[in-house]
Symmetry: C2
Amino acid sequence: MLIFTEQELKQYVKLNLEAITTVEDGFTKLANNEVKMPPIMRVDVQDQNGEVDVKTAYVKGKDMFAIKVSSGFFNNYNLGLPSGNGLMILISTQTGIPQALLLDNGYLTEVRTAAAGAIAAKYLSRNNIGTAGVIGAGSQARFQIRALKLVRDFKKILVFARSANRAKKYAEEMEDEIGIEVQVAESAEQVVRNSDLVITTTPANKPIIKAEWLHPGLHITAMGSDAEHKQEIEAEVLARADKLVCDSIAQCAQLGELHHALDSGVLTKNSFITEIGQLTSKELIGRENEEQITVCDLTGTGVQDTAIALFAYNEMVKRNLGLKVENKTLSLKN
Amino acid sequence: MLIFTEQELKQYVKLNLEAITTVEDGFTKLANNEVKMPPIMRVDVQDQNGEVDVKTAYVKGKDMFAIKVSSGFFNNYNLGLPSGNGLMILISTQTGIPQALLLDNGYLTEVRTAAAGAIAAKYLSRNNIGTAGVIGAGSQARFQIRALKLVRDFKKILVFARSANRAKKYAEEMEDEIGIEVQVAESAEQVVRNSDLVITTTPANKPIIKAEWLHPGLHITAMGSDAEHKQEIEAEVLARADKLVCDSIAQCAQLGELHHALDSGVLTKNSFITEIGQLTSKELIGRENEEQITVCDLTGTGVQDTAIALFAYNEMVKRNLGLKVENKTLSLKN
């Protein structure tokens, strides 16, 4: 068994076009029924405002699949620790024997989540974007913009976060990193009204984005909600969208924005909803014109985890990296 | 994070009375509603006759809980490999950060499964056992007898397995190890008719034990069935039992012997069924007299995994064992 640490994974597994293509291929296989993806397992640790998720997917024809454990403990900032954590296990599809541990502390989840955002933008946003808006100023708000930059050119970023300080820090750091203007907005409304594409990246429990702010040509990717109680956009936003796309309809109906739209009755099980894999597989098309309003609801799927874990494994193995653990011996390969 | 290998876990984590008490305490907490145990996650890899299960349980008041990944790939014998494999992850209940990896290749599962068998015997079998019967001659058939020996004295073991060679090997090896007579039976019927306690340890897909073989005073522990399609004992056996006990009624109703009894209608959701934690917590009593026929249906629960993983962790840490992996460095503690 090979063990890879966060540091080396961060060094060699990059959020690049290849990573995006890998995740895209996973979605296509999901749409083509080549993936077995059981429901998410979740453990809530309410005393600590914490949750642990387990996600997995077996992709036909691959020699390994991932089981990912990821945690979100939202009081961790009191201890000076990040809220997110976790690791991935790669298991042989031939023997069931664990082949590798990716001790990424959540890094690969950031990458595959951002990749899904880029895929959503590629199929659903206008080709020409002036301003990209982002709500939330945490780590994923950074990754989403990095991924978006790989598939769309844009001139300006508008950011809003509850903490003005965090938004300011985000603007400074991302302006340096991306090399385009990043402006702190005064409200979520200002972001939505003035952007061609908006990404929401918060753990919000009630809607931040209102339907009355929508405008022709807007694309929204909502990636924050991945639990029953989370919601970033009003249910009415989904109802008003010309095209509504989910990473997994089954998951979004339980854990995503779609869940609230179904609950409130503005959408029903018979509403026309697309899965992202139907776009990547070319079964259906995404944006059809400059005027459509499109929404993508991302809850995070096991097939993304298997895709990114295999991608990471290959990047590491071809460099002969990792700690080798045998039953009886421990040895550093490097 | 600390990493422990199979070799050191086998060396220092023993199937002893303390391990049994630890698992018993887990069942008690489950009965007392101090445990959150989500349903098992399962991935089937049908091409390879394989399955991977993920089990977990959060036990209130403990500083860590386990997520266990275990695989069963039943064509592995063609490759000269054991069918079972897996590992456990211990996660902090304060921060969600993984604290330890137990690369036990299924060893700790063997221990906690056998511990549950011993607990079932302790509460449900006669105090005085002449002959203990075992059906199946694999690894768990050995562990079950070792665990039973810790809670019951018996004079003789009767073993039956489909492969006469494996049964013979079992008899020779266990006679050496346990120091009492081990006789190979000619049939499952011979085992059941001539034993006071029978343990079934097979991956059978159709019943091996018939109701007509039951006799007063008999206790049966069926630990093989942990999937919808598995069944070791006729549904009628459960219906005829004076006392039917499950490790988890919810799990057994889906994956255990109980599942088939409910399906066939010999039992219903209103039938009186006990959970093992109701015995260990003293809420209910087990065997009441020498004549009762008792059956225990074990599917294997996440709370056993958390219990044994914490037990193992403590055994290892007090000896200062393990490989320490930090984000940026790898170092052997010993």
